[in-house]
Symmetry: C3
Subunit: 440 residues, 3 copies
Amino acid sequence: MENKEPASTAPHDSGEWLHALATRLFPICRSITGAGFRESLDIIGEQINDLSVKSVPSGTEVFDWTVPDEWNIRDAYIETPSGERICQLKDHNLHVMGYSLPIDQELSLEALNEHLYSMEDQPEAIPYITSYYTKRWGFCLKHEQREQLQLGTYRVHIDSTLEPGELNYGEVIIPGETDEEVFISTYLCHPSMGNNELSGPVVAVGLIRWLQSLPKRRYTYRIAIVPETIGSIVYLSRNLNHLQKHVVAGFNLTCVGDNNRYSYMPSRAENTLSDRVLQHALKHTDPDYHRYSYLTRGSDERQYCSPGVDLPVASFLRSKYGTFPEYHTSLDDMSFISAEGLESSVQLMQRVCLILENNLFWQTTVPCEPQLGKRGLYPTISMKNNYDPIRKMMNFIGYADGKRDLIDIAEKIGHPADELIELAGQMQENGLFAGHSNPQ
Amino acid sequence: MENKEPASTAPHDSGEWLHALATRLFPICRSITGAGFRESLDIIGEQINDLSVKSVPSGTEVFDWTVPDEWNIRDAYIETPSGERICQLKDHNLHVMGYSLPIDQELSLEALNEHLYSMEDQPEAIPYITSYYTKRWGFCLKHEQREQLQLGTYRVHIDSTLEPGELNYGEVIIPGETDEEVFISTYLCHPSMGNNELSGPVVAVGLIRWLQSLPKRRYTYRIAIVPETIGSIVYLSRNLNHLQKHVVAGFNLTCVGDNNRYSYMPSRAENTLSDRVLQHALKHTDPDYHRYSYLTRGSDERQYCSPGVDLPVASFLRSKYGTFPEYHTSLDDMSFISAEGLESSVQLMQRVCLILENNLFWQTTVPCEPQLGKRGLYPTISMKNNYDPIRKMMNFIGYADGKRDLIDIAEKIGHPADELIELAGQMQENGLFAGHSNPQ
Amino acid sequence: MENKEPASTAPHDSGEWLHALATRLFPICRSITGAGFRESLDIIGEQINDLSVKSVPSGTEVFDWTVPDEWNIRDAYIETPSGERICQLKDHNLHVMGYSLPIDQELSLEALNEHLYSMEDQPEAIPYITSYYTKRWGFCLKHEQREQLQLGTYRVHIDSTLEPGELNYGEVIIPGETDEEVFISTYLCHPSMGNNELSGPVVAVGLIRWLQSLPKRRYTYRIAIVPETIGSIVYLSRNLNHLQKHVVAGFNLTCVGDNNRYSYMPSRAENTLSDRVLQHALKHTDPDYHRYSYLTRGSDERQYCSPGVDLPVASFLRSKYGTFPEYHTSLDDMSFISAEGLESSVQLMQRVCLILENNLFWQTTVPCEPQLGKRGLYPTISMKNNYDPIRKMMNFIGYADGKRDLIDIAEKIGHPADELIELAGQMQENGLFAGHSNPQ
């Protein structure tokens, strides 16, 4: 395949725009099912083209799992012995344990304590707690508030429903010149937390908008916005054969909103095209990017890379889930992520896509070095040191054997792959290079 | 193949029992042939089931070698000019060079000196000297004793025979569920030395007793107790095709009786199953275990790993032959080895066998992670940090792709393989794992 | 193939003889074409047998290149306003830019300056400048001299011709027992410079004389003495299929005349037989030899290793072109190279050839270790430490499995390959080794 024009680098959305979108999504009470998730998908659908919202009925068997009932909640609070309402849902979505059963009951502080969740070591934060598959109810609160609770009779009120309904997810397909696919997944089920996880869907929106603005694409792009775990399992149960056949590279976006160091977690296979391109782009964006072991995984790569699924999905992260104190608490709020963080994360993924689009197996068309002087590409006077400026070009040519793809050559000669794209085009125009989709 | 019950860990013999057995064998005057070797085998045969004692006639051609005549000795001494008897066989077996011809003769000190062996740098030790294939006679003594010898006429007396007879070795076959074999070899020809070599046969006895006590075994175990070099060559000449066909792992036991650091010498191929399991067990028993190069070999692995034989035989050692000053001298006595050393060496080999027995290619039976919560194996509340206790299990599952065996997964996820056996069984009982004998 | 007698180590030429040959060639005004190149080849042809001088007409298409017109020069100088003649060709060949057009003209200093080349940072050196493919004229001089030039009218005189003629190169084929070839290339086009490049042809002459003195050779040796770049491209265009079919190892000789550290540049593939043997010989000659990256290449390996050519050509160098200040200036004169440097470079290449000649896949003829004692090759008394002197032999035998060649075994057991040649012969005479040309 020849790809004469490198994909254009259409301008991207500003960090402010991305941050504003996150701010709009933040207050919605999401869970793995329910109205909040659908409302969030609707807002996302306003920003991009062709978002398809899918629905799977509760009770559907998906591999070893069953889609749970749909959970919705309207109101919740605890009334103290003095009649004060605390832990109100309307104050913070995290005050109610996810998937809490409805309840309206009076009980002692001792009995209530069985249903309260707080963190002694982070007394100023509300923890994020869920119980999707075992029926419970509960409230989450700051430990410092819990310690103020007086003996007496409390009334707990949760106005929720847990009944057959549906699980939803969003899907965007951006067609390319080939049916080979780049797969991108992120998740949207967490209520009112910034880095984990609104950053993922928001960066995905920025990336989708850029991809849709390109005049053409070599690859077809498939983006899934799912509830974590059960959503990726549902998605795989519906698309496994297709994905295994078409996906050449895949990425899980999670915790990509803060502006701290860049991070990477390999796919299980560790050496897929996804791993190669992501590491290459990261290395040339931030030489100190952090590499996490697959042994520390905890997001949807657990499903995508599982035995029997085996998709080439690597993870792009900034501050990884589980490693920052604000993780899974009310402190992971809109101040934890930033316009700069969101924007630079979109840019990193654009760089990844740009390299993938041009990642051909370049091959010279003549034996020996071509005579570049007659084409104005080589100094016509031979003089000490005047080879240095063209060494990058000569090394690119010197490794263009049709057996190495662009990333491989870039790694070998020590230059960023995207800085070689223009050179490849120039060689191709001069009839000196052919670009192949597969090794020769 | 399914292996529902991991091999039981039957109790092992105490170090005291093992040390007592060594003490009983110590005084016997062994060589590569003769009555002492047979007597030693008989004592070993009392401790275990099914020891088969084999016999090969002198003169038998074995590859490039010929089985030598049988050597037996009844008495030996030197009578000094003053009539004192020194270097008496009855005082120490090492006083007589192995395979010494019979002699009874008077001679000057100068002439005698041609037949005396001592060590200037270890004046307090009697060296261990043999001359199996060139006919000689000689006496070995402490250098400090040699320096006291006065001028005069000496009488040397060696009452030995060297004549056609037989070479013997012992063999134990412990049948398993398959005809794939684990081969263990050790040697018994050294007289009155502890680490090199009584430790080898004694540890083999402890291991055989444990293997025979197991209710069943996946592998068939073949243990050979031979005279060094010529014995292993004889064994190979009789069994080479069978061994090449059936042996999946093999170990040479030598110098395993002292309680110093654990050591390992790879097979020539360096990456066989034997090498993998032995290194894995050693690493998790003693992170500082020493790895010797195959270039420093000096025991029967020289034959088992030789070109044209190519068996997967790695060596387990503690203080390696040639590296400790007491080696091949009268100082390598019963005080150099210990009950603790012998017992812990048996335990190390039990660990090796236990891992081998359970070293299946584990594979999950469903795509994606299984839902462990509904089986009581996963926390039902999702809460920060409560994934940590189950991470080992999730990582085991995450790599159970049917392409990696237990050792490989254990190395990848950083846990001892034997600590994963119970977990594998649990997964298998829940129908989530299948265990295969070969990669899928 | 059996190679019973290792190639003899015929005596080599003295460093003085080599240096004298370089001294004789030094004053000749060479370029990539012309009389000077032919005269130099003629002198070389007097020192060796069977030099064949080839001719290719100007205008011949060679891959992406065209053979240029032939350049010859008889005289050149600049006449200063005061009538003094400077930059005379007869004073130094480097004073005239290579391939300068004929000219005889008066012009101002300002106009002249457009045609002058000097180096501010090396004011005491005349630079080496050429313009092969773009028609120009120019003079090169010391910067300190240039700064003395007064305003006024200058006369420039270049008595040269640039017209259709021929390009020449030399070729020596030294037949061996097989049609597998060792290819050696060096270049001769630089005028009046010592390390880069007279050292290359002179070391090649020394090596050819030694190769031709050997009673026989396993390999056929092919040596090409070419003008750089266009010459190697011409050579490849005429011989590519043959070379790709027959060459098993190849070496580019450049900058091999100084007595500084030894250096190596890999072939593009990095792991060919050429790379293995050259690194092995270098390691055992100078453990601190320098390894250059292929990314820093700048000589004819650019053609030999280019995609589509892919010959196994590694480079042997001492002080590499571009890395020493004298490079491509009048300071790279006969004092920069030395008799010791030239002689030790020939010896290194002899060592390379000697190892290649004996680089068989050695294989033992019997399973197990052979009984060396009965052949007088092994101590007949077994005694602590008396294995050490024969460990090299036993390790050679222990790895002689027919799958490793001599170099591979030598690397594995840590001895120079050429020190194993005699041992291999001894084993072969005893019927214990067979030497194969290919892995078994």
